[in-house]
Amino acid sequence: MTNLVEISNLHFERNKRVIFDGVDIVIPQGKITAVMGPSGTGKTTLLRLIGAQLQPGEGRILVAGENIHRLSTDALYKLRKKMGMLFQSGGLFTHLNVFENVAFALREHTKLSNDMIRSLVLMKLEMVGLRGAQNLMPSELSGGMARRVALARAVALDPQLIMYDEPLSGQDPISMGVLVKLIRTLNDALGMTSIIVSHDVTETLSIADYVYVMANGKIIGQGTPDAINQDKSAQMRQFVDGLPDGPVPFHYPAKALDQDLLGVS
């Protein structure tokens, strides 16, 4: 099996804070790979690095065999046509309606006729169950609907790789179920490769083929969902079981409570 994305020895810092400290990740073609970890571990940053919206301090990221940070602007944009990304906020264009949002990339990158674009957009919207919402503006959509529209837009050009940034957070159970089903279906039916970054443990483990768990800038565990569930390390158990205290402490570092209450400096 070939790898669509290969990340090796990735180092990245932001405001002198180490986000990645020698991370190695491979994303096999045709699979759903999840990258999980507590909030603030840099999961979204990882996707931005893969999309070359950020530059790594050290290390390299190969996408489809190309070092994405060494590409010229034109080559980078050409490669990005093979990538789709679902942003956490959806990132829908607020001045365009649902139909035009999904049609955006088709109008920009193809010379298809309006009839053909209309057919493609309606098929994508049908896939996410929102063909009837084609004339609505983004402000008229619920959070779950906006994310489904953003998903339809992300796959408008039938990309090889699709990246999901926290696709399930803040969703009600019905929307979450719909999105989980869509992610699996898209991956299998269209032969895409998917990367999900998420901290929704149960749902993500239910659809992922392979999982990386990150904390403190490093990979603390990896394997199939079953292997992750059976991992006995304290860090992994705290994250998977959602324990409030453990290697990731409940309390933000501070001096002793009695000293603080008495005002001792």
Partner: protein
């Protein structure tokens, strides 16, 4: 003392870095022209958003400013028995200075702030990022049309301002205060030089337009993506644009009077 010097040095370096970043943004926008077929409608949309939607404030302000200048000018000129020179006074004041400068200040407040807020919000809601990931360059698709939209709109707005202001002066001077219409217009025609007064005024407005939209775009594009960040960026756009307009007006006037 050394801390103060260090702080001053840091401020200087930060300011220069910001200026360099703004310069690079302008260069990247100017040299990444959208292709004509896709770019033209986008530029026209921005001419509408920045120009047409600013028309009301420009027309109303132009009318009142023309009327006030005529009223004030008349009461001063009449003391010297030179009331017939009201036409040239208004026309020269408006075409040389008031037209380009006041239009620029209004344009900064109306269109500049709107551009900053729009770009800042697009950034905060990840619209620019999602555009990049769809392999569409936001500089070409979003930023460049706004720059050219402002570049085209400003001189047109200044022409409209000038015309309305002179008409306002005509209403006050001729229709209200009873000056002779023929003297009002003919004295104006004799005194106003098309190149030195009208064209130079329009050159000013082109420069002001470019600088205002540049500041607005830079502030929006690099705004901190929070509500407070966007509010600060919008305020900075209006303040910096106004100061830049007034400062540049002096420089351009000095150059024009010096015969460049």
């Amino acid at each position: 003392m050394s801390m103060d010097v260090a702080a001053l040095g840091r401020w200087g370096i930060d300011s220069l870095r910001e200026l360099g970043r703004a310069g690079l943004l302008l260069l990247r926008v100017v040299f990444r022209l959208p292709d004509f077929k896709k770019g033209f409608p986008l530029v026209m949309q921005q001419v509408y958003a920045e120009g047409v939607l600013s028309l009301l404030i420009i027309v109303v302000s132009g009318l009142f400013i023309g009327m006030v200048v005529a009223l004030q000018g008349y009461h001063t000129l009449v003391k010297f028995g030179a009331a017939q020179q009201l036409g040239p006074l208004v026309a020269l004041s408006v075409t040389r200075e008031l037209g380009p400068v006041v239009t620029a200040l209004l344009f900064a407040g109306r269109a500049g702030s709107a551009v900053t807020a729009e770009i800042g919000l697009m950034k905060a809601t990840e619209q620019l990022s999602s555009m990049e990931m769809m392999a569409v360059d936001p500089l070409r698709r979003v930023i460049a049309p706004r720059l050219w939209g402002g570049f085209i709109s400003m001189p047109l707005l200044a022409i409209i301002f000038n015309t309305v202001a002179i008409y306002g002066a005509y209403l006050v001077g001729v229709k209200w205060l009873g000056l002779d219409a023929g003297a009002f217009w003919s004295n104006m025609q004799t005194s106003v030089d098309f190149h030195l007064d009208v064209i130079n005024g329009l050159i000013k407005s082109v420069v002001f337009g470019l600088v205002i939209v540049w500041i607005a775009l830079y502030q929006g594009y690099y705004a901190e993506p929070t509500s407070a960040g966007i509010a600060n960026a919008t305020t900075r756009t209006v303040v910096y644009s106004s100061l830049a307009t007034l400062g540049l007006d002096f420089v351009l006037t000095a150059m024009m009077i010096g015969g460049w």
